[in-house]
Amino acid sequence: MDVLYFAWVRERIGLPRERVETKAATVMELVAELKAREPRYAAAFADISALRVALDQELSDFDAPLDGVREVAFFPPMTGG
């Protein structure tokens, strides 16, 4: 699965995207796996309420299942316009 990071999430983790092999069933489980990796991931995911997630380029939520998902993206609330 491709995992993408944007804005300060990208900056904290230090890369824009990576390939992740996981058996996580939900977004929350994936987040727990990532947090356990290294302090920079733990820092980026410290406050989940400050983050948004998109699954295959559609806004979703942290309880959503990852079944069949090919692309997960984490980012702060959007500030377009």
């Binding site: 993408l4 944007f6 990208r10 380029q57 980012f75 959007m78 500030t79 377009g80 316009g81």
Partner: protein
Amino acid sequence: MDIRVTAEAFDFAAEAQGFSGRLEASGAVVTFSGIVRDNADGTLERMEIEHYPGMTEKALAGIAEQACGRWALEDVLVIHRHGAMRVGETIMMVATASRHRKDAFEAAEFLMDYLKSRAPFWKKEVTSGEGGAWVDAREVDEEALGRWLE
């Protein structure tokens, strides 16, 4: 419907004129344009906008289609830049055209409310001296979405 995501500067006036010129039946055209403004200290060097290629285009098209479903619109234009831009440059614009002004106004506001909080763009303000600071999402922008959900 014309949706563009681009790193290039664009000419708001020329786009507005082109949009109006293509209309057949609309008496009312509303445009909104967002311009990079300086900070209170006058130290903004540039605005940098990051986006999510692929999702951005889908999100904008989805928002524009929703607007077309809710209001009687003849046409909709959305242009949004990403990358670096300086004070005074146009960040983005929307234009809506309808027979009646109420539809054109409401659709333009709807597009803006959704663009602000639901299209994957992130603004960073880079000031001279210091580095950059990501712009925080505003609670009032999230609240503005609420009125379209009634």
